[in-house]
Symmetry: C2
Subunit: 374 residues, 2 copies
C-alpha cells in the first residue's frame, strides 16, 4: 500500500523555489505556516552528510514574517516575547520565545530589529500575525501588523560563507552571528542575516521579489558548483544533535518556556512588560514538573517517530520521546523528550516504549558531541 500523498492546493502555498526543488526530485514535504517545506531532498542521512560537509540552499519560505511597524512597534515586540529586547540594536536578531499569560509557548521566532519602529518576527508554525494583530487591536496600539510577502532562503553548511561572498560580495564575511545587513542583489536591497536552523553555520536571505528569487537560487547554485552545492532543508538528525526543538513537535502550546528548557533566553528578572513573565517567575519559584532533554536511545536504528513514544521508569510513565532518529555519525539514536523533572539529570536512565519494543535510554547534554562545526 502506498503512503498517502500530500494534496497540494493553493491553500498549501508553494514557494518561489518549489518548482526547482521538485525538478530536483525532493522526496518529502511537510506543511509549515500553510506553506510547503521540504523535509527530505535525497534522504535524511544523505542530506545530513551533505549539510555537514558541503553547502545547501534551503527553501524556508515558510518562515513567515510577522511584521510590526509604527510608533508602538517596539512596545508590542517586547510584549510579545519574554526575551529582553531593550539592548537589541537595529541590524541584530534575537531568538525570542513567545508565550501566553500562563507562560505556555505560542511560538519560538527569531526577532529582527530593522529599526525602532520596524520589526520582523520570523516565526515557527503558528499564526503569530493573528496573535500580534489581536493584541495590537485590543490594546489600541499605534502599530501595523501584517505578513509581508517575504520568503527566506537559507544557505547552510561549512562552505556557505564562500558561496555567499561570491553572490553578495565580501561584505557578508563581516556579518556576525545573528547580525544582519541589507545587501544588494540586482538592484534590490535584501536583509541578509548570519543565521539559520542548523549548527553548521550559514545565512538567511529575506527575499521579497518572486522573479528575482529564482535568479538568486540559480546564482547561488552556480556559485557553489565547485563545493558540491545542492538543495537542502532542515535536517532531522542535525537538528536533534544540535538540540534544536521543533515547535509543535517537541514543545507545544501545552508547555511553558521553562519546560522547553529555554531558561537562558528568558529575562525573568528584567523590569520589562512582556506577556507571561509573571507566570514564568512563579513557575521558577515553585519549580517545574517536567522539562525537555536530550536522550540517547540504545539499540539499532529506531523507527519513524510519528506520534511520540511513552517513557517509563519502573512501572511509572515519566514522559515521552517527541523526536528520535539514528545518527550515523554517533552510531546511536539521538532524541529529544519531555520528561518528569526527577528524571532529567544527565545520566538518568529511562525506558522508551518504541513501537518495535522497549529500549533503554539515557539523558544526555545537548548539543550532542561534535554537533557544531562552527
Amino acid at each position: 500500500m502506498l503512503p498517502p500523498a500530500l494534496a497540494i492546493t493553493r491553500r498549501i502555498r508553494s514557494t518561489p523555489w518549489s518548482s526547482r526543488i521538485e525538478d530536483f526530485g525532493v522526496k518529502a514535504y511537510t506543511v509549515y505556516n500553510h506553506m510547503l517545506l521540504p523535509t527530505q531532498i535525497r534522504g535524511v542521512e544523505e542530506d545530513y552528510h551533505h549539510l555537514r560537509s558541503a553547502v545547501q540552499v534551503w527553501d524556508v519560505a515558510c518562515e513567515r514574517q510577522a511584521e510590526l511597524r509604527g510608533p508602538d512597534a517596539a512596545r508590542l515586540a517586547q510584549l510579545l516575547t519574554v526575551r529582553d529586547l531593550r539592548s537589541l540594536r537595529a541590524g541584530r536578531c534575537a531568538y525570542a520565545p513567545m508565550v501566553d499569560d500562563a507562560g505556555r509557548m505560542i511560538n519560538d521566532p527569531v526577532a529582527l530589529k530593522l529599526a525602532d519602529d520596524h520589526w520582523w518576527f520570523s516565526v515557527a508554525d503558528s499564526d503569530v500575525v493573528l496573535w500580534a494583530g489581536g493584541l495590537a487591536r485590543g490594546m489600541g496600539l499605534d502599530v501595523q501588523v501584517c505578513e509581508p510577502e517575504v520568503n527566506p532562503l537559507a544557505v547552510q553548511g561549512p562552505k556557505a560563507e564562500t558561496v555567499m561572498a561570491t553572490v553578495f560580495g565580501e561584505a557578508v564575511r563581516a556579518i556576525k552571528f545573528f547580525g544582519f545587513e541589507r545587501l544588494d542583489f540586482r538592484g534590490r536591497s535584501w536583509v541578509v542575516a548570519r543565521s539559520g536552523w542548523s549548527a553548521q553555520g550559514g545565512f538567511e536571505i529575506y527575499v521579497d521579489d518572486d522573479e528575482l528569487a529564482a535568479v538568486l537560487y540559480d546564482e547561488l547554485m552556480a556559485a557553489g558548483a565547485a563545493f558540491d552545492i545542492g538543495p537542502g532543508c532542515p535536517n532531522l538528525i542535525e537538528r536533534i544533535e544540535a538540540g534544536l526543538f521543533t515547535y509543535g513537535t517537541d514543545v507545544t502550546r501545552e508547555h511553558t518556556a521553562l519546560e522547553a528548557s529555554l531558561d537562558r533566553y528568558l529575562a525573568l528578572d528584567a523590569p520589562i512588560d512582556a506577556i507571561g513573565l509573571d507566570a514564568l517567575r512563579s513557575q521558577r519559584a515553585a519549580g517545574i514538573s517536567r522539562r525537555l532533554v536530550g536522550l540517547m536511545i540504545d539499540g539499532d536504528r529506531v523507527p519513524h517517530n510519528r506520534n511520540g513514544w511513552d517513557v517509563e521508569h519502573g512501572d511509572e510513565r515519566v514522559g515521552s520521546v517527541t523526536s528520535a532518529v539514528w545518527s550515523p555519525r554517533l552510531s546511536t539514536n539521538v532524541a529529544l523528550g519531555m520528561l518528569r523533572i526527577d528524571h532529567t539529570s544527565v545520566g538518568a536512565e529511562v525506558t522508551v516504549l518504541a513501537p518495535d519494543g522497549e529500549r533503554r535510554a539515557t539523558v544526555v547534554e545537548v548539543p550532542f558531541p561534535g554537533s557544531s562545526q562552527r
Copy 2:
C-alpha cells in the same frame, strides 16, 4: 518520479481516526490547522458518487474549536464576526465570517452557541484561537480563550440521518439544520449538530474522548453497513458544485467578506460592535472591484489546479480560477474564481489560461444545478 510524500510527525497531528482511515487505504491527505485531513479516500470521483448516494463518515478533527468562556464571551463572539449573533439561541449554529479591521477574511468558521457565556467557533485553516486570545488579552476582557481537545466527526450523505438515529436514537431526527443537541454516547454527552461541509445533509459530532472516538467510529460503520457506509472527506467536486469556497484557496486574507460573496451573512446595517463592519460598510458604498463567482470551464477534464490559473478577457487579466475540477454528473468542469467585478454577471464569458491551454469559461450561478439533495 514519485510525487513528494507527506512527512507525518507530531507537529502534523494525527486524529483519533487516522489509523482507521489509513488501514482503509486513504489516498491523499492535506494539512489543516496543523492536523491531518483526508482529501481522497478511494479517489475524488468515486468518493463523490458515494457521498451523493450513500453515507460517509468524515474525519474532520481538524475543524478545531476556538472556545470562548466567561462573562465577556458573548461580547467577544460578536466582536469576532460580522454575522449578527444577537438573536442566535443556545443550541444553534451560525456561519460566522471573521474579518480584520479592513474587512479582510481571517476565517469563516461556524459559531456554536453553547450558552450565553460559552461559545465555540469551529474554524477553517487559521489560528483563530490566537486572534481571539490576543483581542481578549488586549482588551482586558473577562473571558477564557482556548482550543479544547474536541475532534469533530461528520456523517454526511442521504442516509446520514438513518445511521445517526441508529447510534444516537430518534432524537437526531428532530435536530433542525444548524441546530444542535447534547446527546448521550456511552455515558458521555456530546454536541451533535445537523451541519457539515457538503450539500448532501448530515451531522457533525463534537467528540471529546479519544478512546470513545474509536468506538463511535466503529458503531457508525456497523450501523451503516446496510447503506454502503464508508470513510469519506470533504469532496472537491461536491463542494465546488455546492458553491462552498475553501478559506486559503479561493478566499484568502487578501480578500474582504464582500469580495468573498458573503453578502447575505453580513450584518452591515445592524447596530452591533463587530471588527471590520465599518470597513465593509464603506466598501459596500464605494463598490467592490472583484468578487468570487462560479464558473463552467469548457473542454475536457481540466488538470489539477495547484496554484490558480489566470483569467483574461481580451488581452486583459481579469482574475483567476482558484479551484476547478471535472464534474462527472454535469459533464463539464466546475470552478470557482475571483474575477474583476465587470466580469461577474451570470453569463459573462472569459478565457482561462489552464496549464494545458486556453479555455473558454462562463460565469454561472452557484450552487450548480442539482448540487443539493436536501
